[in-house]
Symmetry: C2
Subunit: 231 residues, 2 copies
Amino acid sequence: MYDATDYPPFAVTVDLAMFTLRGPSLSVLLVRRGEEPFQGMPALPGGFVHADESADVAARRELAEETGLDSFPGHLEQLATYSEPGRDPRMRVVSVVFVAFAPNLPEPSAGSDAADAYWMPVEDASRESLAFDHAQILADALERVRSKLEYTTLATHFVESPFSIRDLQTVYEAVWDVTWDRANFRRKVLGTRGFVEPVEGVADAASTGGRRAQLYRPGDATTLHPPIPRP
Amino acid sequence: MYDATDYPPFAVTVDLAMFTLRGPSLSVLLVRRGEEPFQGMPALPGGFVHADESADVAARRELAEETGLDSFPGHLEQLATYSEPGRDPRMRVVSVVFVAFAPNLPEPSAGSDAADAYWMPVEDASRESLAFDHAQILADALERVRSKLEYTTLATHFVESPFSIRDLQTVYEAVWDVTWDRANFRRKVLGTRGFVEPVEGVADAASTGGRRAQLYRPGDATTLHPPIPRP
DNA sequence: TCAATAGTGTCTGTAAGACAGTATTGT
DNA sequence: ACAATACTGTCTTACAGACACTATTGA
C-alpha cells in the first residue's frame, strides 16, 4: 500500500489574487516575472509553501512580503487548488490559490521583494496574456469576488472604516460595473441587519460642496440576509 | 532561488465528501480505516494523486472505485485544500477535497475496493469522531452543499431525471431540514427561468392513490435567478 | 366514497424600483 | 444664488407566505 509510486512528490505553492480599489476601478496585483519560464510576462504573485507552514500561513507570509505591511488589513480566503500536470513546465507543482482584498493598498514598489509588482485594473488584466494558468485563475478569482459581494459583508473590507453609504455603493458599482439608484441602495443596505452600524461623526467636506455624509462601521454580520442582488 | 529547501516535497491526496439522499435523509459515504493511523475509525474516502493526474482526475478515479460505476452520474466540484502540518502524523500531506453528489447511489459493498464503505445520515456523521481533520472537512462540505442549493440548479443532480416538482421539494427539505408550502415551492421553481423543463409523461402511480405528477428535466440554467432562499 | 396526492386561485404584507422632493454644505 | 451631494417620502408593481379550493387517481 505505501510504496513510493503511491505518493509521488509534489511541490506546493501558493498564489495570490489580490484586489483593491484604485480610483474608480477594481485592480489586481501583478508581478513581472524575472526568470524562466514565462520570463518577462505578468503573473500573479506567489511562492513555495515551506515545510513547516500551512498554505494559509504561507499566503499570509507572501501577503506581508508583497505589501510590506506586517499585518494585512483586509480579507483573505482560499479560492481553489490548481493541479494540472504540466501547468509548470519545470516540475509537478500544485498551487493553492487565495483571494485577498483590502482598501487603499499602497503602491507595492516600496523597497520590498516585489520590485516589479504593480496594480492593474482587472478589465485590462483580463485581456493580458498571463504566465502559467494564471489567466484562468484570475477569471475564477474575479467571479469569486463578485459573487461574494452578493451574500456576504465583504464589501466593507474594500473601504476604510468609518465609511459612508456612498463609499459602499462605489464598491458595488466598481466590482459589478453597474449603477445603483442611491436611495434604493441606501434602503437596501440599512435594511440588511448587521451589515453596517452608524458611528458618531460625518465625512469630511468635498471640495465641491454638498451635505456631509453620516459615517458607519462594519456590523456584526458576516452573511447578508437578505442578500444584495446583483442586477 | 531554486534550492531544495524552497520546495520541500509534499504528498498530495484527494478526499471525497460524497452525498446522496437515502430515504428521507441526506447521507455521506464513510469508510472504516483498515490501518494505522486512526485504524478502525470512520473517515472520508480518498487516496493519493498519481504523478500524471490532476486532482480532478484523481477524484473521478476514486469516485469510480468507490461506487463501482464507470461514469459517475452526479456532480463533482472542488471544496478546498487542507494543508495543516501534522494533519497526517506519517508525513506532510496536502489534501484536495471534493464534494460529490448523485441520486440513488447503490450500497457501496458491491465487491469493490471499498468493502468497508457505508452510507451514514449526515446528522449522525457530524456527531461521529472522524479520522484526521475529516470532521472539519465534513462540516465545510455540508455547508457548501447547503448553500449551493440556494443559488444553483444542483438540486436536480440529487434526483433522477425525469422528476416531479415534489421530488425537488424533497431534496430541499432533506438538505435544509425545513418544510415548504407545496404551492409556494411550486410557484418558486416554475418562476425561476431555466431551472426545470416539462417533459412528456407523468409519474408512476403511488400505491396509495393520488393524482400523477407532471414530470420535468433539468433546464439550461446553472445558476438560479432569482435564488431559492433558505428560510 | 374516501383518502391521498397534484395542481390552481387568491388574499395580504413586504420589499424593489422609479423618481420627486427636502436638507446641508462650499463656492 | 447655485451647484453638488446627502437624505427622505411616496407610488407602483412584483413576489413571498398563508391557505382555501379543485383535479385526478387507487383502494
